[in-house]
Subunit: 372 residues, 2 copies
């Protein structure tokens, strides 16, 4: 086997501080999130993009992204974002995506369509009955929807699937000259020691040995990347849950595994060569290490947020308490209610960040989340 070393990798990657968020957005009908672009440019950010004079002028008006960390991109005439069916030569990415300030992602395409309809209503954007088109309609790999400053993208299941999406999303934000973007994963998970339906905001994404790291193999060598997430953002989200006061929310560690069955100590997979006692012992160890839920994407997400400088958070609802079972047996209606909780929490956060007031008609709507 090739030598596996992990040195120097973190040092080689520039991770920059987030831009100022102390802005007061304007009220519509002028798109109010544009004001976020008018925050003082973060001079610590390296501008790796090249382009026409017009693009350079535009970048002065709105500080350009340095989310990518790849000098090779500069020499490419065209960049095809293959799994989005988008590209720099075929699409005007700055026009399509230049105003994006929030990216919300989740495994299921259906859930991400439901989220964009929800957030569009929450932000009072356009006709609530209008169909919002899938911007990745030419492919079935991912789905992508946009409403004002919010992009909603599906990422499939597991680290490889979310990693492909995030590589192409980060390049998209770069090509579109986006800045000050917050990215939020809204997902489902198995809980440990929590009532089903509890929402967990991830403090640290840990691996199956409870360490806060993400292991990748690059050029045949092992590389370990940090999975620290933005503590301030997590606290802001917890505060939003307190304001909503509709369901329990905790901050805890999230274990990210490569497998749903054996990798999460389930007894109900096609293969299982361990006992119920061994399962319980493993889950107890996880709980003692601060793990409150288990899912399959958070470590890659956290590592790529840290590497890119994107401000990110993971907000997942727990569908069951894994100490008490492995199968998801709740009714469709209960599961639907649970799956709405991260959407409500993140919707409330975005509305608060954008200072969108609650309108009377919303206070009694089905989502019940307009409680500011």
């Amino acid at each position: 086997m090739r030598g596996l070393t992990a040195e120097g990798e973190q040092a080689a990657a520039d991770v920059f501080a987030r831009g100022s968020s102390a802005v007061t957005p304007r009220i519509r009908p002028t798109p109010y999130w544009i004001a976020l672009c008018r925050s003082p440019p973060d001079l610590s950010r390296r501008n790796m993009a090249t382009g026409s004079n017009e693009e350079k002028e535009a970048s002065k008006a709105c500080p350009q992204s340095s989310y990518v960390k790849n000098p090779h991109l500069d020499s490419m005439k065209e960049d095809i974002l293959y799994h989005f069916n988008l590209g720099t030569a075929t699409h005007d990415l700055p026009a399509m995506f230049g105003d994006v300030k929030f990216v919300c992602i989740g495994g299921s395409p259906w859930r991400m369509k439901s989220f964009i309809e929800f957030i569009s209503a929450e932000l009072q954007l356009g006709d609530p009955k209008a169909d919002i088109p899938n911007l990745c309609a030419g492919t079935d790999r991912y789905s992508m929807y946009k409403a004002g400053p919010v992009l909603s993208v599906s990422h499939g299941m597991g680290i490889p699937s979310i990693a492909i999406m995030l590589h192409e999303l980060i390049k998209l934000l770069h090509h579109a000259h986006c800045s000050d973007v917050t990215i939020l994963r809204i997902g489902t998970s198995g809980g440990i020691g929590l009532s089903p339906g509890t929402v967990v905001i991830t403090k640290q994404a840990v691996d199956a040995t409870f360490l806060p790291q993400f292991e990748q193999i690059i050029l045949g060598k092992k590389v370990l990347r940090s999975t620290d997430l933005d503590e301030k953002l997590s606290e802001e989200l917890l505060q939003c849950s307190r304001e909503l006061n509709e369901f329990d929310t905790v901050i805890g560690n999230t274990m990210c595994t490569l497998d749903f069955y054996e990798g999460q100590a389930r007894l109900d997979g096609a293969f299982c060569l361990y006992s119920e006692e061994e399962k319980q012992s493993y889950l107890a160890e996880a709980y003692a290490a601060g793990v409150r839920n288990i899912e399959m994407e958070s470590s890659a997400f956290a590592a790529m947020c840290k590497l890119s400088g994107l401000q990110g958070a993971v907000v997942c609802v727990t569908l069951l308490d894994r100490r008490k079972g492995d199968q998801v047996t709740n009714s469709h209606d209960i599961l639907n209610d649970y799956q709405m909780r991260p959407q409500k929490l993140v919707g409330h956060y975005i509305r608060k960040r954008l200072n969108v007031p609650c309108v009377a008609s919303q206070s009694t709507d089905a989502f019940g989340s307009c409680s500011m």
Copy 2:
């Protein structure tokens, strides 16, 4: 970190020899693949299933599956195949799936729908214009279609996504009392040293250090599983390609990675901290180790075939030569033609196994694959 050991895992799993394939199926209109059930039962197979007297009688007539290796399943009153939206209490799985003999899987839901339409025409099953329903219509995680003895299932991108699907598929085959099932992954990949469009039948699935193994973390401990595939099946598929004589096909090693960009030495991801020379050196090492293509599912697939006793093969077309570039730049039409090649090859193989004759109208059809 917990101690990581890999001992004893293989020994704990029973891997059984495949059943006899020396059968002569009957010709329709009686479903001809049912004859495959009448092959002599493989007495080396352990029957782990329990059930009613009727089920036990049925299992005598058609040897029952022992693809699962999990004693806990016996004590479950109900098994919910969550990501398929199917279950033993809600669906009559033996009636729905009991006659399945071939499972074809691929990443894209659209491609797997296209495949079931293709194979349905090849096997002259039903009205070619009839819409074949998605049997997982209640979920967007996977898509599943059936035509006669062939099941076509999508698996998403990456090892975690295919592993969830395979766990639930293997349980489905078990609950449906299927036997003598062959499973074929038909996918796309990046080639090394091959003309784009070449089809690679996987000899061994190797990891990013070129070793024929699949690493999993189970209860926090590292477990290494073998990724050997069925050599006889690979040779049979190569012979099918010779008979088709429409495109180049080779048998070679397939490198399976957890990441599409940095994990495959691409220069066009959001992050890249290595040079073109380092990339070329890594690909040259892979080539020297017998690697002819790179994808993201084969090692989990091979390990789970081996562990279950399912006879499996991986047939992927190469979309580009990775020594010459990273981006997929071919036209939509060329990519469509490439993506049909594994379908044609596997379609020819299934037709040959089932002894379905070519009809005159097919010999000139768009697929051009009825050349027996």
